[in-house]
């Protein structure tokens, strides 16, 4: 019903715009060097200033009244393109932007700077080309896109060097991470010290913290949209890097010049190989990942892309003396197949098939004991997105999608000398989702620009499934209902309105407002405080309701010095409902032989804060300063005696300063300084004795704070300037120093118990464990 209404509304809107005498300029914006599309290039006319940005496929379309215009295209890292156009017919212009060759004494052309920060209605967004991320100092010599976004305000991490991030008080499962549109369910390698994203394979990323456009759905806190590189359309390239604990290599090139190209990139850690000769028990850990993508321009109107990711972490240890062996492996696999079709100069479509799989497997054997555990989530998704470009920079996006989920939240077995313990039968859960959306953006008048949309989501949990009716007092199943294959168990509808309004104050400043409702049908629950590969994804069921998030945000945006300095101040308030956690009293044995959700408690949360971001994108000196103040708490009936408590990721103050100075053509120096209020913790408040052992009584949940966190990193990058022009290699050496002043930041606190209880002689001291002291690393990057 709602969809029908939207469709009619869209048609009316289209016909209203079509009545004037207008012409359209459309086409693709490409990198002149590689022939790859440029995402987010700013395409505009100067008088009056009106424009649009290229979409994820580099496509733009601008419809204007008949007239003469100065038409300009700019993108970060490229030289501006300008042309006078007399618009008296439709034009299809594919524009190629030249990469900016960096010269230290070059006078920076001010006109190329974009005022998108002030002009766009979108707020709460972080856009970062990977090239910029590559200048930031790194841990272990590995450029990491997730670590870079963690340096922006409103995005924080709890563990040292962790790739798990939290956005504006939302949990880790409330972040949608898309790699070429495919959801990535676990973005961590090596307990989070590395993210799953190989920077060589990535072109661009966008993070939405508020006002998430209606084409994105499924998570209530944020969307991180990562686009993989497409592959050079004109020449073969080999690039890579050799670091201390991992190396990577990427090959790309044309399959057919300017028509089809590919890119394959891979990396692997090799601590296991390097250390093998030195250790009696080999360090059996490594991870690897492979990204691959190919695309083919079938006709000027049609293009297909196929991309995929496969990564695994493997931990394999055998201790012969103790007859002990363990094997743990986990990882994601994604596959995306896309078809771009241009119905007309104004109507762009993209149809996508997506497969995503995450699984975790654990096995351990010691003499008589054998433990096996695995969890997984697998999705098949089909979606169709349309973009319709109207007059004067108005555009509409609409589309539909369907997803089928298979969850294996928990399958475990335990045997003792071939005698099995009953841990329940392996259970698979099934659900499907459908959604339709409509979103439009444009200028209402000279002062007001809006971006508004609505998304309608439908969700159904389907059989086979057995619902155990559970008595919470006796903790036993009193009855069960068995649902057959494809049988509906429960369904939910969710309407998600999204509204963003920008009021222009003057040519350099604006005020923006956004209000959104987001919902989420699938959830992650974790019995521990850190994100582990064992975290379970579970569907909404008749007792697990969809999570709902409301967010209001208000911001002031101002550019200084001819758009070279961008300032934003954003405040937000967020309400979260149907939050899920384990009941504090739940014991492992209560999970098995019943539905897992019988052990959950459902609560609510709220978060509010203010963020300040000052950024300089252009010139020899670039970087940003970010500050955020925030508070986030949760409240569950079965946790902390029902009292509200600060979330693990409640962080009062968070400061990041990221600066890069291009000393000369050959050298670039970067520095990072971060400060954060200490993490919350639950600490012992008293102790007593039971059976002669010490038993601890704890404070309220997260009632204590660890010491604050701060750290500085530096990096120096040397780009050797080869005198012989014939030498085609481009190389760089990156020396990074993590934690320059060797701050011993608290990773966790623990309690060291010394002495002998039976001798009545014991002391307890609090200790803090710090992970990384000053840590230099060097990486050689090459490209030829």
């Amino acid at each position: 019903m709602h969809l029908k209404f939207l469709f009619i509304f869209s048609l009316l809107l289209i016909s209203a715009w079509l009545t004037a005498q207008n012409y359209t300029i459309s086409g693709y914006v490409k990198d002149a060097n590689s022939g790859e599309q440029i995402i987010g290039a700013y395409v505009y006319i100067t008088d009056p200033l009106k424009g649009t940005t290229t979409n994820h496929y580099g496509f733009y379309s601008l419809t204007l009244p008949k007239g003469s215009y100065t038409f300009e295209v700019s993108a970060v890292g490229f030289e501006k393109w300008t042309q006078q156009i007399i618009l008296d017919k439709n034009y299809e212009i594919n524009i190629e932007l030249k990469e900016k060759t960096y010269l230290i004494d070059q006078v920076v052309v001010t006109a190329e700077r974009s005022d998108a920060n002030v002009y766009d209605a979108q707020m709460g967004v972080v856009k970062m080309p990977v090239e910029r991320i590559k200048t930031i100092p790194v841990l272990f010599g590995e450029v990491d896109v997730i670590k870079a976004i963690e340096l922006t305000p409103g995005v924080l991490t709890v563990g040292e060097g962790s790739s798990t991030y939290y956005v504006r008080g939302g949990g880790p499962d409330q972040n949608l991470i898309l790699l070429d549109e495919a959801p990535v369910y676990n973005a961590n390698h090596l307990m989070g010290f590395f993210s799953t994203f190989n920077s060589d394979a990535i072109q661009n990323l966008e993070l939405y913290k508020s006002g998430i456009p209606a084409n994105y759905g499924g998570r209530i806190s944020s969307v991180l949209d990562i686009s993989m590189k497409e592959g050079n359309m004109r020449k073969y390239q080999l690039e890579g890097g050799i670091g201390l604990i991992s190396s990577r290599i990427a090959v790309q090139g044309p399959i057919k010049k300017d028509t089809a190209s590919f890119i394959i990139s891979a990396r692997r850690t090799y601590a296991d190989i390097v250390m093998k000769p030195f250790m009696k028990t080999p360090l059996g850990y490594y991870f690897y990942d492979i990204n691959a993508k190919a695309n083919y321009i079938i006709s000027p109107k049609d293009r297909i892309f196929i991309s995929g990711y496969f990564g695994r972490d493997v931990f394999d240890v055998k201790v012969a003396d103790d007859n002990f062996s363990t094997n743990i492996d986990w990882g994601n696999a994604t596959l995306t197949a896309r078809w771009n079709h241009l119905f007309s100069q104004k109507l762009f479509s993209n149809t996508t098939f997506i497969y995503s799989d995450y699984n975790f497997n654990f096995g351990a054997i010691q003499e008589l004991y054998n433990v096996q555990l695995n969890t997984s989530i697998r999705d098949f998704q089909l979606k169709s997105d349309f973009a319709y470009f109207l007059k004067d920079g108005w555009n509409m996006k609409f589309g539909v999608e369907g997803i089928h989920h298979t969850f294996k939240p928990y399958t475990a077995s335990f045997t003792m000398e071939n005698s099995p313990f009953n841990l329940g039968n392996p259970t698979k859960l099934y659900a499907w989702e459908a959604a339709g959306y409509f979103h439009t953006e444009g200028d209402i008048n000279k002062w007001i620009r809006i971006s508004a949309g609505v998304r309608l989501g439908y969700y159904q949990q389907i059989g086979p499934f057995t619902r155990y009716l559970f008595d919470p007092i006796t903790l036993t199943n009193t009855d069960s209902i068995v649902y057959g294959k494809f049988k509906k168990i429960v369904d939910y509808y969710q309407l998600e309105p999204r509204l963003l309004v920008r009021f222009k104050v003057d040519s350099t400043s604006s005020i923006k407002l956004s209000a959104t409702r987001n919902t989420q049908f699938i959830h992650m629950v974790s019995p521990v405080n850190v994100t582990l590969p064992t975290d379970l994804w579970i569907p909404s069921t008749d007792s697990v309701k969809p999570q709902i998030g409301y967010q209001l945000s208000l911001g002031y945006f101002r550019n200084f010095l001819d758009n070279s300095l961008e300032l934003s101040i954003e405040g937000y308030y967020k309400w979260l409902f149907n939050q899920i956690d384990y009941k504090e009293e739940s014991l492992y044995e209560n999970y098995i032989l019943t539905n897992l959700d019988n052990n959950f408690t459902y609560g609510k949360g709220r978060a509010y804060g203010i963020e300040l971001f000052l950024q300089k994108k252009y010139g020899t000196f670039t970087g940003w300063i970010g500050y955020s103040y925030g508070k986030t708490e949760r409240e569950f009936p079965k946790i902390n005696d029902g009292k509200p408590f600060p979330a693990k990721y409640d962080r009062t103050h968070d400061i990041s300063i990221v600066l890069t100075y291009r000393i000369s053509n050959a050298f670039s120096l970067s520095g990072v300084w971060v400060f954060a209020t200490g993490n919350t913790a639950t600490v012992p408040v008293s102790r007593y004795f039971i059976e002669g052992n010490i038993v601890t009584e704890y404070s309220d949940r997260n009632a204590f704070r660890l010491p604050s966190y701060h750290r500085a990193d530096l990096s120096l990058t040397w780009y050797p300037q080869h005198k012989k022009k014939s030498r085609k290699i481009e190389e760089s050496w990156n020396l990074s120093i993590y934690n320059v002043y060797n701050r011993k930041n608290p990773y966790v606190i623990y309690f060291d118990i010394n002495g002998d209880m039976t001798q009545n002689n014991m002391t307890i001291t609090a200790k803090q464990l710090s992970l990384f002291p000053i840590l230099p690393s060097i990486t050689w990057n090459f490209k030829f």
């Binding site: 030195f278 007593y688 011993k744 039976t758 009545n760 307890i764």
Partner: protein, 289 residues
């Protein structure tokens, strides 16, 4: 410098001096009383009353003795009679926990009866109640050899779990070596894994105290020495009694891990911390050979 040497250098830097002592400014805890009480079929009750203390207070013998409350009024009832308990010092002689406890010789545990206690300390009153369940009998117990070791053995037990809900604790006592029945560590068991089925398990010998150097230096850790006579006590419990021991044991063994939310101990007494519960026990003896 070769890359592997560099790697080792960095690994060394990483792993050295990662941990340091810190001062935590914790408030003085609220004063609470702790009950550790049980009654077993055919045995007199044992009810220890102690106090909590600040988490960092250093522990010496005076400290531990001072935790025991000596002036409590302790009453136990079997639903028919209520008797007042007296303070026993029997355990002080052999150093067994609890060093001081309240008991009575006017009441022994009987199957299927409901027992309740009332402990009065000044203006505080603590109460608790539990039901004595049925006994469960072992089918057999036997020893299994350990690879490359002639002097130590593994001890196994087996039985058929009755159809009704059961919760178990197992204890062992090596005659003339142990002063009391030592609970088998991590063997507080819910029969959910083997309800109404034949069940066998390797009964790992319990440790008297996890904060004792002698525990970890003991070459017999978890095993049984050939020649020893071992008495196995199999105790059946109610769910609430089980919940206390299950959560308390989890807290004692893994509670201080910084990565997990602390265990919420399921105290069974009202007005204080701790437990009062019934054990329906059976005893079996084996000579390790």
């Amino acid at each position: 410098m070769r890359i592997d040497k560099l790697f080792f250098l960095i690994l060394f830097i990483t792993l050295s001096s990662c941990s340091k002592e810190i001062e935590l400014d914790l408030p003085e805890p609220d004063k609470k009383y702790v009950i550790e009480g049980y009654i077993e079929n055919d045995h007199y009750p044992v009810i220890a009353v102690t106090r909590n203390s600040s988490y960092f207070a250093p522990i010496d013998s005076t400290y531990v003795m001072n935790l025991f409350v000596l002036d409590a009024k302790v009453y136990i009832s079997n639903g028919e009679n209520e008797v007042e308990c007296f303070l026993s010092t029997n355990n002080l002689i052999n150093g067994a926990w609890p060093y001081l406890y309240y008991t009575t010789n006017q009441m022994v545990g009987e199957l299927d009866k409901i027992y309740s206690i009332k402990v009065i300390i000044g203006s505080d009153t603590i109460t608790g109640s539990d039901t004595m369940p049925s006994q469960v009998f072992l089918d057999s117990l036997w020893c299994e050899p350990i690879k490359d070791n002639d002097t130590l053995k593994d001890l196994w037990i087996s039985y058929i779990d009755p159809p009704e809900k059961n919760f178990y604790r197992f204890f062992t006592k090596r005659q003339s070596r142990d002063n009391y029945f030592v609970p088998s560590a991590l063997f507080v068991l819910d029969d959910i894994y083997f309800n109404n089925q034949f069940f066998k398990v390797n009964l790992i010998r319990g440790i008297e105290n996890i904060y004792s150097d002698s525990t970890y230096q003991d070459p017999e850790l978890g095993k049984y020495k050939v020649g020893d006579t071992v008495i196995v006590k199999t105790a059946n419990m109610t769910r609430q009694h089980y919940n206390f021991w299950r959560t308390a044991e989890q807290e004692i063994y893994i509670g201080s891990s910084p990565f997990i939310n602390p265990v919420r101990i399921r105290h069974t007494v009202k007005g204080g911390l701790g437990v009062f519960g019934c054990y329906a026990s059976t005893y079996d003896t084996i000579v390790i050979n």
